[in-house]
């Protein structure tokens, strides 16, 4: 995890058990540096609870929270800064727009020590950015779900926080809007450079925004680092599924080729052998290989002159069209799931029983322990 020298970094080390809840305990220790850190993990993992603790809305049972040198919470000192003094902006998963205030008044709410004129300018700029100028005199009950989402986001972003917490801020927006707001967020981030914790389930948002990812599961941190490292080389099966790996195959390590940075593994009980990136393993070790269905290419004749090393011969077991995509199951001893476009199906004349070749890049194959 990269650390900058002096900047205000959010440091959290807390334990929290909800009252009357025995099965779930949040027990995490993390540092959030400047820029956007993605908080990623399955539903019920404790992401919102963590943000609630940081914002001061839920009091941890024990631990410490600080921004740079300023301590926000310390259970040993019985020290607890109330939320309104923390200068942490937080977009709730449930939005919590004020139902009796117009969109404009909602957004203005957090701006008060600012001269009237600047405030107006501020608000009307962000209304424009988020394409909700037209709605500024509507109340939350009178606007659409996506519009509400944007209003809630705008309400938090206009303030000048020390830390920004975003709990799934872009769910429910269409791709175009999402892209536009992602751009705004990137610009905002570049300008402000504060620690931002961003909860999302969407791989697209991770790819578009994430500088770092912290993976949470069942109240614990199960990984952190660059998005690729955390999400594309997942360590745990559950996370692998969460990140959308359709193929999860058991494998046994055959041999390491350290010079090339690869190792050879055999899949399942089959005779399929592939090359995967090197890992801390020794021959005979067992593990799982995760591969995205979209990372697998199909060819109708044995490909030549390609840089890809893993080429497996197989037979199409089934072919199913799902909306704009075809899902092919290919039996190569083990069964792979591959996504191909309908165009490719037509051009390659793919059909059940047809012989095909799978093309797998080494780095599309991830070892999971």
């Amino acid at each position: 995890m990269d650390r900058e020298v002096n900047p205000p970094v959010l440091a959290v080390d807390i334990r929290k058990q909800h009252r009357g809840q025995t099965s779930f305990v949040l027990d995490v220790s993390l540092e959030v540096s400047l820029g956007i850190t993605i908080l990623f993990g399955p539903s019920g993992a404790g992401k919102s609870t963590l943000l609630d603790c940081i914002a001061g809305l839920v009091r941890p049972d024990a631990g410490k929270i600080s921004i740079g040198k300023s301590v926000l919470f310390d259970s040993t000192m019985h020290f607890d800064v109330p939320p309104q003094k923390r200068r942490i902006a937080y977009v709730f998963q449930s939005l919590a727009l004020f139902p009796h205030l117009t969109v404009e008044k909602n957004i203005e709410y957090g701006l008060r020590d600012i001269p009237e004129e600047d405030r107006r300018a501020c608000v009307s700029e962000i209304l424009g950015d988020f394409r909700i100028e037209k709605l500024k005199n509507q109340k939350p009950a009178q606007i659409s779900g996506g519009e509400r989402q944007r209003a809630a986001l705008a309400r938090s972003l206009v303030t000048a926080p020390r830390v920004l917490l975003l709990d799934e801020p872009l769910t429910g927006l269409d791709a175009e809007l999402k892209a536009a707001i992602v751009e705004d967020l990137r610009a905002w981030n570049a300008a402000k450079r504060i620690p931002i914790l961003y909860v999302t389930h969407s791989r697209d948002e991770v790819d578009a925004l994430g500088e770092r990812v912290i993976a949470v599961d069942n109240g614990r941190i199960v990984g952190h680092g660059a998005p690729m490292d955390v999400l594309d080389a997942p360590r745990r099966k559950r996370l692998a599924q969460a990140a959308g790996f359709e193929n999860l195959l058991s494998a046994v390590v055959l041999g390491l080729r350290e010079a090339d940075g690869v190792m050879r593994v055999r899949l399942g009980d089959s005779r399929c052998e592939i090359e995967v990136p090197l890992a801390h393993a020794s021959p005979g070790d067992r593990g799982q290989i995760a591969i995205r269905a979209g990372d697998i290419l199909l060819a109708s004749e044995r490909p030549r002159g390609l840089s890809a090393r893993n080429i497996l011969e197989g037979r199409i077991a089934s072919l199913e069209q799902r909306g704009g995509m075809c899902v092919a199951r290919v039996d190569c001893g083990v069964t792979f799931v591959a996504h191909v476009t309908p165009g490719a199906v037509r051009e390659l004349e793919l059909a059940p029983e047809k012989q095909v070749w799978l093309v797998l890049k080494t780095h599309s194959c991830h070892l999971v322990d």
């Binding site: 914002a55 001061g56 809305l57 109330p82 939320p83 309104q84 200068r87 942490i88 902006a89 937080y90 709730f92 449930s94 919590a96 727009l97 004020f98 139902p99 009796h100 205030l101 709410y109 957090g110 008060r112 109340k139 009950a141 009178q142 309400r155 938090s156 303030t159």
Partner: protein, 226 residues
């Protein structure tokens, strides 16, 4: 009709004071974490269970020259509290206290906690959160508190009679006036006065409710009995 004017003045004062005092009390009772607060809630409702004249009697004792309140007042202002307009106001405030506080508590408690969290996170302190979020969202409860305490003070006569002494122009409210006329079997006069009081009160209440509807209706009035 000086007794009528006096009544409305009294009811106005009492309702205003009750809102001013009742609001912080209700706020505290609604949001305090103290486990024993149901005791306080119960105490708040207690003035109601005593007959007004009896409560007035105790108030008179407290405000009299030997009562603690009376002595305090005398020390502060150089005159007694009983049989003055101020005395009436204080006694009525005590008596109508539950009518103001109970609806306020109920409506404060009904405000969605998530909105209060949102306000805090946006940097608003308790006061700003109260003024901008809790109070507007509790408007129906505030109106109820106002109407109940205003109307109840208008109609109150037991406490007022006892503490005020029914002095023309100073403490003779219209309800005592009507009462006197009924007592002396001057029914025509009593009817006239009662009708006048009802008419004016009706106008005032209509105003309050109509304004309340206008402020409130547009955003919320969607689900209706079909």
């Amino acid at each position: 009709m000086s007794s009528l004017a006096l009544s409305f003045e009294l009811a106005g004062c009492v309702a205003a004071i009750l809102l001013a005092i009742g609001t912080p009390v209700a706020y505290w009772l609604a949001y305090s974490n103290w486990r024993g607060k149901f005791l306080l809630e119960s105490i708040v409702a207690l003035p109601l269970v005593l007959p007004p004249t009896v409560l007035g009697f105790y108030a008179l004792l407290a405000m009299g020259p030997r009562g603690p309140l009376g002595r305090l007042w005398m020390a502060l202002f150089g005159h007694g509290l009983a049989f003055t307009f101020s005395g009436l106001v204080i006694a009525s405030v005590v008596y109508s206290f539950p009518f103001a506080v109970q609806p306020l508590i109920a409506s404060f408690e009904a405000v969605d906690r998530k909105l209060l969290d949102a306000s805090a996170v946006l940097g608003a302190g308790k006061w700003r959160t109260f003024r901008r979020i809790i109070l507007p969202l509790s408007l129906p409860g505030v109106v109820t508190a106002l109407v109940l305490s205003f109307a109840h003070t208008l109609g109150e006569f037991g406490v007022v009679l006892m503490v005020g002494g029914n002095l023309a122009g100073v403490t003779r409210t219209v309800s005592i006036d009507i009462y006197d006329r009924v007592q002396s079997i001057e029914y025509r006069a009593a009817n006239h006065l009662a009708l006048l009081l009802l008419g004016i009160s009706f106008a005032v209440l209509c105003l309050v409710y109509a304004v309340n509807r206008c402020v409130w209706a547009p955003a919320w009035a969607r689900w209706t009995v079909k």
